[in-house]
Symmetry: C2
Subunit: 256 residues, 2 copies
């Protein structure tokens, strides 16, 4: 069996389930680390800073540092930096997105931005929606960190960033450039951060529609683990199958 030199690893459903520890995930990451294999956590979560996410992983005893975390917000910031280093941005989002854009020293403005960037924003207001729509109608490039339609919470499924993003696309008729999984943009950015090429890399995740689809669309081999959203039964409905499938990540440790 092929050995991989680099791992891209999903978080929720793969490394933990909300506040719940996944024991096999801890052993999996420790085994990767022990062999000095490169890895990067890749998440659609746009609301948190990488240090906050690393802290959560460490609390589960998973080896992590902020440099090992790559969010859809960071991928959005990299994407813009590639196009226009001094971009003026109107942002709708939380701390994670703001931090990622600040790191690139973009200008934040409310009128006539070069980019309107949308991430989950639980302080959303109509005025933010209005400013975003006006910006897009005035020609700003419209980015959205991710298309997730719902967020699992203790209260149930709350609106995700893909649902909030639809306000802008429905109102203006302009479709956004989505950055996060299943898009290949975040994967290509992640490979660059990791300094790896796609042939030597394995994408690991629990969600066919985001993690596995992202790997496939970027031409990266994929490992689906059944500890999260995509069940065995559900998986049979898809024509294109992941490169590998395991019930838990403990089944992969001797293949690292």
């Amino acid at each position: 069996m092929k050995k991989y030199n680099a791992y891209l690893i999903d978080l929720d459903g793969t490394m933990y389930r909300g506040a719940e520890r996944i024991e096999e995930a801890v052993h999996f990451v420790k085994a990767i680390q022990k062999k000095n294999i490169r890895y990067l956590f890749v998440t659609n979560n746009s609301s948190r800073r990488p240090d906050q996410i690393a802290e959560k992983l460490i609390s589960f005893d998973i080896p992590a540092t902020p440099e090992l975390v790559f969010t859809s917000s960071m991928a959005a910031a990299n994407y813009i930096a590639d196009q226009k280093k001094d971009a003026a941005i109107y942002m709708i989002g939380e701390e994670g997105l703001q931090h990622a854009l600040q790191e690139k020293q973009f200008t934040f403005i409310e009128e006539n931005p070069d980019y309107v960037v949308v991430g989950i924003d639980r302080d959303l207001t109509y005025e933010k929606l209005a400013k975003g729509c006006l910006g897009i109608r005035n020609g700003a490039t419209f980015l959205s960190t991710n298309a997730d339609i719902a967020i699992p919470t203790e209260r149930g499924l709350l609106p995700g960033n893909g649902a909030l993003t639809s306000v802008f696309s429905v109102s203006t008729g302009v479709n956004p450039i989505f950055i996060g999984k299943p898009e290949s943009i975040i994967m290509e950015q992640a490979l660059r951060v990791l300094g790896a090429n796609k042939e030597e890399t394995l994408m690991v995740g629990d969600n066919y529609d985001t993690d596995i689809a992202a790997g496939m669309s970027a031409g990266i081999d994929t490992l689906l683990v059944h500890t999260g959203v995509t069940s065995k039964e559900k998986l049979t409905e898809y024509e294109a199958q992941p490169t590998y499938v395991v019930d838990s990540l403990s089944a992969w440790i001797d293949k690292i």
Copy 2:
């Protein structure tokens, strides 16, 4: 030419343009009133109470009373009352929608409602979106006052209720029952309020996609007036044409 016993009349673009008077509209409504012909103003506007709308019409010298105004909020309230007189409702909307639902003495609740009703809400919050999504996922019937994607304002086109509504439909996968034009629901309610049947009624409006389409879908003859959004050039793109077309409502006065 056929004489009509009842008129359903659109507001913005037909009776006025925003804050701008349309002189011919004043003469048109006065001519209808003089002949003792029944009429009702029918608007997708869900945010205002009928007395507020009547006041605006009167300020333009157009004969109006609150009883002559029928909004998408009132049509939504009537629609629910037909189904469940003691409905428990979670409402996202402004004064007009709240007033219309209160008139029917529905109960307002935030959890496990029978209906989630969405109208334009410029005090929208993420929490309102969350409660609406949870209600719909728990089985509430999902109504939206209207599908208008944008609102013309002095600042430009701001997000309309159809754009806000998409958050719920995208997140939950449940499509709303739209009440306002171009749906036939508001037209059937309006005919009932007016006590008229469709054969004797003419729908008058400036917008093909809402006013004329609503008339057609309800089986009511239509009069398109080119004082608003649908230009002569635009009208040629539609296969199904209005029953009548005039440049301004003064051209219709001798046909009343």
